[in-house]
């Protein structure tokens, strides 16, 4: 009902005239503006009505809070972010702020927002990637003051020594229980300071063919694309090969080069890893038989016995060691960021790898060992010798050899990729193979699911489509919680966002529930912290909950000394002004 009333309030001023005035302003800065203006004027003459606002006596003009600009994505890039940006702006205007919403194409948005940090506020989604299950990404990378530089992830420019100390400690705490306490504390401080406003964790809606397959396994962030799903999914009848649909094709199977998430979702079926993240989000030894940490800076890994690559050669510790050497040598864009804490790697005997860290690291196992594959030395050393470091990065790797549960049978780009079960794998898959089909877009994948041509839908469905598909007898549609979340970044380097009262008030004005109900059609949960409830071990359920409450938002501003003029525009407390540098 919330937005209904909101819209009703603004009904007096017709929305088109509001839009057109704003439109005209932005055009005025551009070329040809006068010509457009001419036509605009002749067409829109009827819709002009400007209410002049006079500040009350003691409210000097320099105290007026400037217009703030909210960047959102374009509607095709993400309709949800676009739409909730509009909803939020409407609410912020009710607090007496002038808000301009500017949709930007993603490259431009990430340039201004993430890279240059040249923005007031913008909507972003932290995707639920596998290496974001470990809290380090959110606790440290998005909030520690050392991460606020060009291109780094502390986008808001949060700088709180108290918080920094806890974040640093959490990085070093190798004891999970101790680390958990610190992560809980970090979430509490975050929820109080609100450098960015978490809004919602969006559930993934994924469908699979329940007539021919059962035993699917899902995972936060990954849904049906989880590594475990392809091991567990079991044919019920004669259909032994599962068709895995996705809107686009794998771009590149060279894992050293590709930075595309779906490439890695596919590559990890071919290349094995020492450690996997289990469906609950815990790092567990996988190709490693055991992992020991004799001291905080040393990690000793024992390999499983009898593992082989798909060409029959054995997997040894030297392959593991070589992989890290190769990453360093070619400066792999995907892995370099994941081995920053690593000092050296040694292979004292064929079954043992010893990692020496530069400093104690709590996330090394989850964010390094569980991300880096085991590449066969006998294959890659030859490529390196033939083509050099640059050549390795340009290598297309169209016939990959790994030691994972599936091997590549053939791949015809944009048409299909066939993966067959690798029978010598220590935990063989139940299906005989996977046929991977790129359907060109989500609509294509959805219709293929509907027609029974596709067995595993690898992309989250639109709620409307999900409802339709769940009505079909051969399909099951799963509602899978995600640990990623939508949020709005405030630029704390700038007025008025430097003030906690403003951030608090703005966050109180975000209609989180309405966003989930209307835009996600109920498939999501409200976010208060940077760790999702589904990430049970790390999620702190007791943080301060900032829910929509416009009245309280006004109260917070009032208490902090903010005032409003007769027309309801917001003014800074005495002594504060945008004009003062």
């Amino acid at each position: 009902m919330l937005v209904h009333t909101a819209a009703a309030e603004s009904k007096g001023e017709h929305s088109f005239s509001r839009v057109s005035r704003r439109q005209r302003r932005s055009q005025a800065q551009r070329l040809f503006f006068f010509l457009t203006l001419f036509i605009t004027a002749s067409l829109l003459l009827t819709s002009c009505s400007t209410g002049g606002s006079k500040p009350a006596s003691q409210l000097t003009p320099e105290r007026k809070v400037r217009e703030i600009e909210l960047y959102v994505t374009t509607a095709d890039y993400d309709p949800v972010r676009y739409e909730f940006g509009m909803m939020v702006a409407d609410q912020w205007r009710k607090l007496g702020l002038d808000v301009k919403v500017t949709p930007l194409a993603w490259p431009r948005l990430s340039q201004l927002g993430i890279k240059e940090k040249n923005y007031d506020a913008f909507t972003l989604n932290w995707a639920g990637l596998a290496d974001r299950i470990d809290p380090d990404h959110f606790v440290f990378l998005t909030l520690h003051s050392s991460q606020a530089g060009v291109g780094q992830y502390n986008i808001a420019g949060y700088n709180n020594p108290e918080y920094d100390k806890i974040a640093e400690e959490s990085r070093r705490a190798t004891d999970p229980e101790k680390r958990r306490e610190l992560v809980f504390k970090a979430q509490e401080i975050f929820a109080r300071d609100l450098p960015y406003a978490p809004i919602a964790h969006r559930n993934q809606l994924m469908a699979y063919n329940k007539r021919d397959f059962d035993n699917v396994t899902t995972m936060m962030g990954e849904g049906l694309n989880a590594f475990w799903n392809f091991l567990s999914i079991t044919p019920k009848g004669n259909k032994k090969v599962a068709v895995w649909g996705y809107p686009s094709d794998v771009t590149n199977l060279n894992v050293l080069t590709s930075t595309n998430a779906h490439d890695h979702q596919t590559a990890r079926l071919i290349y094995d890893k020492l450690v996997q993240i289990d469906p609950e989000g815990k790092a567990i030894p996988w190709a490693a038989e055991s992992i020991q940490q004799p001291d905080p800076k040393t990690v000793v890994v024992k390999l499983r016995k009898g593992m082989t690559f798909q060409d029959g050669k054995p997997v040894t510790s030297e392959d593991v060691r070589y992989t890290y050497q190769l990453i360093n040598e070619v400066k792999s864009p995907y892995f370099m960021g994941r081995i920053t804490q690593l000092g050296k790697v040694e292979a004292p005997d064929p079954q043992t790898v010893v990692f020496t860290l530069k400093e104690p690291s709590a996330s090394f196992v989850a964010n390094t060992l569980a991300q880096v594959y085991i590449l066969p030395k006998h294959v890659w050393s030859k490529i390196l010798a033939d083509k050099g470091a640059k050549g390795v990065l340009e290598y297309q790797n169209e016939k990959p050899i790994g030691s994972g549960p599936f091997k590549l049978e053939y791949w015809r780009r944009d048409q299909e990729m066939k993966l067959t079960r690798f029978d010598k794998y220590y935990q063989p898959a139940k299906v005989e193979g996977i046929l991977k089909i790129p359907y060109a877009n989500v609509q294509g994948m959805t219709t293929a699911l509907e027609a029974g041509e596709c067995d595993i839908g690898g992309w989250s469905l639109e709620p409307g489509q999900a409802k339709k598909l769940s009505g079909l007898s051969h399909l099951a549609v799963l509602d899978i919680p995600d640990h990623g979340f939508y949020h709005i970044n405030y630029n704390m380097r700038r007025l008025p966002f430097d003030d906690l009262a403003v951030r608090k008030a703005l966050t109180l004005a975000i209609p989180k529930k309405a966003i989930i109900d209307q835009l996600l059609e109920g498939h999501g949960v409200i976010a208060y912290s940077f760790i999702a409830p589904i990430n049970k071990f790390w999620h702190n359920p007791k943080v301060e909950k900032t829910d929509y409450d416009l009245e309280k938002a006004r109260q917070v501003l009032k208490t902090a000394g903010y005032e409003w003029d007769a027309s309801g525009k917001l003014y800074y407390p005495v002594g504060k002004s945008d004009q003062k540098k």
């Binding site: 603004s10 929305s15 503006f33 457009t36 036509i39 605009t40 609509q443 409307g464 339709k468 209307q518």
Partner: protein, 287 residues
């Protein structure tokens, strides 16, 4: 003057399709002018059913003759408001295009020599540019928005007008009245704008009407690919949101009306241009 207009109207009226085109165009113009009064709802407002539930993708009814969108917005209101963008872009680009194209054609044709050469080579180059891909790239780079859409359209579509007007000028130049004007010592500018312009104007108008259609179509295509001004409701953007919401197969009421509106308006441009052509080119009338 009045008699001349009346005569033109008589000729125009003979073309049945031309009259239909003019009627459609006038209708859309009126809708665009009075759009805020005609639209029953705010086009961006999410609406609720009488029972208080969210009006998500409702089929047509008395409350919503064209149904609602996924976000519960009234399609009829969107189509009505969207006519403004179509006409704004259409008319603005058509007039600027005609202005630029006619002038280039006049100058090239009248002066001849290296000026003609230069301008016509430029026209050739522009002829080598695939229109829609260029518009998409330009708008993607300069940023979505009406101004950039208009710039992209104008940058390309003056080429046809320029070529046609030039060849018309080349023919006119041979005629005695131009010689006469020159002999009386009229300046070049005077000859171009006093003597040539009135004679090429009808032909320019043919292309104005054609360009109007093209501009509307291009704007719709650009918006449909997601490069329209995200803050404005246009017919292309309505279709785009239906496509993005994957509602094309289920919600015909969301897809049909805006597409039909584009078709009718573009068609009216074609019809009008054909009728005007008969005025501009008397030879056609003899058939």
């Amino acid at each position: 003057m009045l008699a001349r207009l009346q005569e033109l109207w008589t000729i125009f009226r003979r073309d049945r399709l031309g009259v239909v085109g003019l009627l459609i165009f006038t209708l859309f113009l009126l809708v665009a002018l009075f759009a805020p009064y005609l639209a029953p709802y705010d086009p961006m407002e999410s609406l609720y059913r009488p029972d208080g539930s969210f009006a998500r993708q409702d089929p047509p009814s008395w409350r919503h003759p064209f149904g609602t969108t996924r976000m519960g917005r009234d399609v009829l209101s969107q189509v009505i408001i969207g006519s403004r963008v179509a006409l704004l872009v259409g008319l603005t680009s058509a007039f600027i295009t005609t202005f630029i194209g006619t002038n280039i054609g006049l100058i090239a044709g009248y002066y001849g020599g290296w000026i003609d050469d230069l301008l016509m080579r430029l026209t050739d180059i522009v002829y080598g540019i695939p229109f829609l891909p260029f518009a998409i790239i330009l708008v993607a780079i300069l940023g979505p928005g009406l101004t950039n859409t208009i710039i992209a359209i104008v940058l390309i579509s003056w080429r046809t007008t320029a070529r046609v007007i030039r060849s018309q000028v080349l023919t006119l130049k041979q005629r005695t009245f131009i010689e006469a004007a020159r002999l009386t010592g009229a300046s070049n500018l005077r000859i171009i704008y006093r003597h040539l312009v009135p004679n090429v104007l009808p032909l320019s108008l043919v292309y104005t009407a054609l360009n109007l259609g093209w501009a509307i179509m291009t704007e719709a295509s650009i918006s449909f690919l997601g490069y329209g001004d995200p803050r404005l409701v246009s017919w292309g953007s309505i279709l785009f949101s239906a496509y993005v919401a994957q509602a094309v197969y289920d919600a015909w009421w969301w897809v049909g009306p805006p597409g039909l509106a584009i078709t009718l308006l573009v068609m009216s441009g074609f019809f009008i241009s054909r009728a005007v052509e008969e005025i501009a080119n008397p030879r056609l009338r003899e058939r």
